[in-house]
């Protein structure tokens, strides 16, 4: 869906391949041809010829990264981001596939809009997998036509930005999803407890005089959803942007019971705390909000021990005029595509001592499994030629002003990182090169 012209063969030479799905963690060369992985072999042992060579000495060669949660803002909100600018930012962040959220204007609740999102005219430079609305206009009342949406290319359904609170609607969504083998993605937030709230409930919200969202508002919904997923045979529940220790407990309970429950965590939730809101910095305002130190610690443990399936950015661009306002009025959300890997390496590998192989898994095999993205998330022969090449030791400083995203609402402007994307290859074609 991305490449107009067929690329020639590309040989990635001299790199160190980390492909957790294929259990590879060794120096290997990778030959890409006709949009697929043609060969993966020990150094200098590939047999096929190449039109182009990529010198990957000193670099990690990984399957293309997959982001399960991005807001590309089209249709309707092109002033925040477009599919073209958002996927350019994705490429710069090493993502070869992004799953787009349906809370646009209008909401992506029909097959026509799903088809529209995937159309080449949108100018995507990485693969775009639409997630469609679970209920009409995401109003939480009437289910959309899951089967038609799935046929059009939707990889999951969600009302992201809003939770599906009604027990019966959630049960019906999980049932229908089970029939179609389609995951239902939940934005877990009991909005009855979070109305007019703009950050996490704790000492910082009290000090700033802001109403706080209690951690229980997330955990109670995850708990209910896991229970429903356990009751419905083959139901697939995916918990979006999980942020609290108690919600993790519910996910663990579901996984132990062999329910098909998965979850994702954002880089900002494993990096920042509620106190980093400081003096009303709206670039630290998102939903779910930054949580307590105990929550963050629990998340880092769960990233390491396998409870968390994927790192997802929840890339949520907003225009300056939507952020340069009173904190309580500011839009929720921050950009995240270009800082995800750097945060994972700096925070999780550097400080948290999580092995690089596990970090790569959280960007590749993990998310590919969550939404069944066949042929992606691994460099096995015959798979799509989506490759992410990065330097795990490179030190650099992120500058928001140089972001490819149309919006610059990031809390990480000026941060010094270790670990940088060097090249991003989609369908055998280099779409980003540092």
């Amino acid at each position: 869906m991305v490449n107009k012209s067929k690329p020639g063969a590309l040989l990635i030479k001299g790199g160190h391949v980390i492909d957790p799905a294929a259990k590879i963690n060794a120096p290997m060369d990778v030959l890409l041809r006709d949009g697929r992985v043609a060969e993966i072999a020990l150094p200098n042992k590939t047999r096929g010829g190449a039109d182009e060579k990529f010198d990957a000495r000193g670099l990690i060669v990984a399957p293309g990264f997959i982001d399960l949660h991005v807001h590309l803002r089209e249709p309707g909100q092109g002033y925040k981001e477009t599919i073209a600018t958002g996927t350019a930012a994705a490429a710069a962040g090493g993502f070869t596939s992004v799953c787009t959220m349906p809370n646009t204007a209008p909401v992506v609740d029909t097959e026509e809009w799903v088809t529209w999102l995937r159309h080449p005219e949108r100018g995507a430079v990485v693969n775009v997998f639409p997630i469609a609305a679970a209920t009409r206009s995401s109003r939480g009342a009437t289910l959309t036509d899951f089967a038609a949406l799935q046929r059009a290319g939707a990889v999951a359904v969600t009302d992201d930005g809003k939770p599906i609170l009604d027990d019966e609607i959630m049960r019906a969504a999980l049932r229908l999803g089970a029939e179609l083998n389609l995951p239902v993605v939940q934005h877990a937030e009991d909005t009855r407890l979070t109305e007019t709230c703009s950050m996490h409930e704790g000492p910082t919200s009290f000090r700033l005089g802001l109403r706080g969202m209690p951690a229980a508002a997330e955990a109670s919904v995850v708990d209910r959803d896991v229970t429903l997923a356990q009751q419905i045979r083959e139901a697939r529940l995916h918990v979006a942007h999980l942020s609290t220790s108690d919600a993790l407990k519910a996910v663990r309970r579901g996984k132990r019971a062999k329910a098909r429950v998965t979850c994702e965590v954002t880089p900002h939730h494993f990096t920042l705390l509620d106190e980093n809101v400081g003096e009303y910095d709206t670039n630290f305002k998102m939903n779910p909000p930054l949580r307590s130190a105990a929550d963050r610690e629990a998340i880092v443990v769960a990233l390491a021990d396998g409870t968390v399936d994927a790192i997802a950015t929840d890339h949520a661009p907003h225009a300056t005029h939507e952020k340069q306002v009173e904190f309580e009025r500011a839009s929720f959300g921050i950009t995240g595509l270009e800082t995800a890997l750097a945060l994972a390496i700096t925070q999780l590998h550097g400080k948290g001592k999580i092995p690089l192989t596990r970090i790569v898994e959280l960007f590749t095999a993990g998310p590919a499994r969550v939404f069944d993205l066949h042929g992606r998330g691994s460099l096995a022969r015959g798979n799509f030629a989506d490759v992410t090449i990065f330097d795990p030791k490179k030190r650099w400083t992120f500058e928001a002003a140089k972001s490819r995203s149309l919006s610059h609402n990031t809390p990480f402007d000026g941060w010094q990182f270790t670990g940088k994307i060097v090249a991003t290859i989609v369908g055998g074609k280099i779409v980003y090169r540092a």
């Binding site: 000492p203 000090r207 005089g209 109403r211 340069q324 306002v325 309580e328």
Partner: protein, 313 residues
């Protein structure tokens, strides 16, 4: 863990701005209190002659607005009142655009009251004139804390070791947040008292040494200063509080007041609701300094404005 090199193209508030007590230095606070003691609205020099002070009020106010206005005028300033109703704010003008507009018409300082916490800081970061917080949401009300401190020092020698009981709707109270920052800084011992809906456990984290009790008797025993608060029904956001229960357990009555020290003073930032958080007998009693607080608001705000506009000598 924060390693930002440069922030998001935002300026520091101009010197003389008064945004909150929390980040003020002790000597700045003492300096303002000293200056306030020298201010007399009836015998003031026109320190602010030809200065234009805009009073920008997004919320209702009687005391704060009128005393800032009288303070400014006593010092010779010109004042203009802009309220959310009847201005372009109603048409959807943003806070910053309102600030730029007022600056462009010649404001030398802006006194702002706003329902959103942090609104004065946002304005101060984008304007090159002093911004004075006249109350922002549930965050801070620094001029009230200063006039309360001024009032306390008229009756007590110093803050050190004073037992202060703050009773009522702490959660919604910007006055309490400012008062706690100020009084704790100078060594007062503060007890917060009220039901959990109004005094959540997290309140104790605001400043070191805060104590919480659910029993008004415990809060009052040995108190030197009693600060009462109105129940802020407009900020309750759906919470249901049974007023009769509150009155029964927490209302300040003449009987309860006897538990405090004999020379204890009763304070209230106003507006007071007689028969609810206090009885008329307490409000009008010999220990009440509630009207005195209002009175002290004028010299305190004269000092704040004089400092803001650089005429504090």
């Amino acid at each position: 863990m924060m390693h930002r090199l440069h922030s998001y193209a935002i300026n520091k508030p101009v010197r003389g701005s008064l945004l909150g007590i929390e980040h003020m230095e002790a000597n700045e606070i003492l300096g303002l209190l000293k200056l306030a003691r020298r201010m007399n609205p009836l015998k003031a020099r026109p320190l602010l002659r030809n200065k234009r002070v805009v009073l920008l009020f997004y919320e209702a106010s009687t005391r704060t607005r009128s005393s800032f206005e009288i303070a400014a005028k006593s010092l010779g300033a010109i004042t203009t009142l802009v309220q959310s109703s009847g201005s372009s704010i109603e048409k959807g003008e943003s806070l910053l655009d309102t600030g730029y507009t007022l600056r462009a018409v010649g404001a030398d300082a802006i006194v702002i009251r706003h329902p959103a916490a942090g609104a004065p800081l946002l304005m101060a970061k984008h304007l090159d004139i002093p911004v004075i917080n006249a109350g922002d949401g549930m965050h801070e009300h620094p001029s009230q804390a200063l006039l309360d401190a001024f009032t306390i020092l008229k009756h007590k020698k110093s803050f050190k070791g004073l037992h202060i009981a703050i009773i009522g709707d702490i959660f919604h109270s910007r006055v309490t947040r400012s008062n706690c920052h100020l009084l704790a800084r100078f060594g007062a011992k503060i007890t917060l008292c009220g039901p959990p809906e109004f005094v959540p456990e997290v309140s104790a984290t605001l400043v070191p040494g805060l104590r919480i009790t659910r029993h008004v008797e415990e809060a009052l025993r040995g108190a030197d200063v009693i600060m009462l608060l109105r129940l802020q029904k407009e900020r309750l956001a759906g919470q249901k509080i049974r007023l009769q229960d509150y009155i029964a357990r927490y209302q300040m009555t003449v009987g309860r007041l006897r538990l405090a020290k004999r020379d204890a003073i009763v304070m209230h930032p106003g507006p007071i609701i007689r028969g609810l958080e206090l009885t008329a007998e307490v409000a009008d009693g010999a220990q009440s300094v509630i009207i005195d607080e209002v009175h002290n608001g004028v010299p305190t705000r004269m000092a704040i404005l004089a400092r803001a506009l650089g005429k504090a000598k």
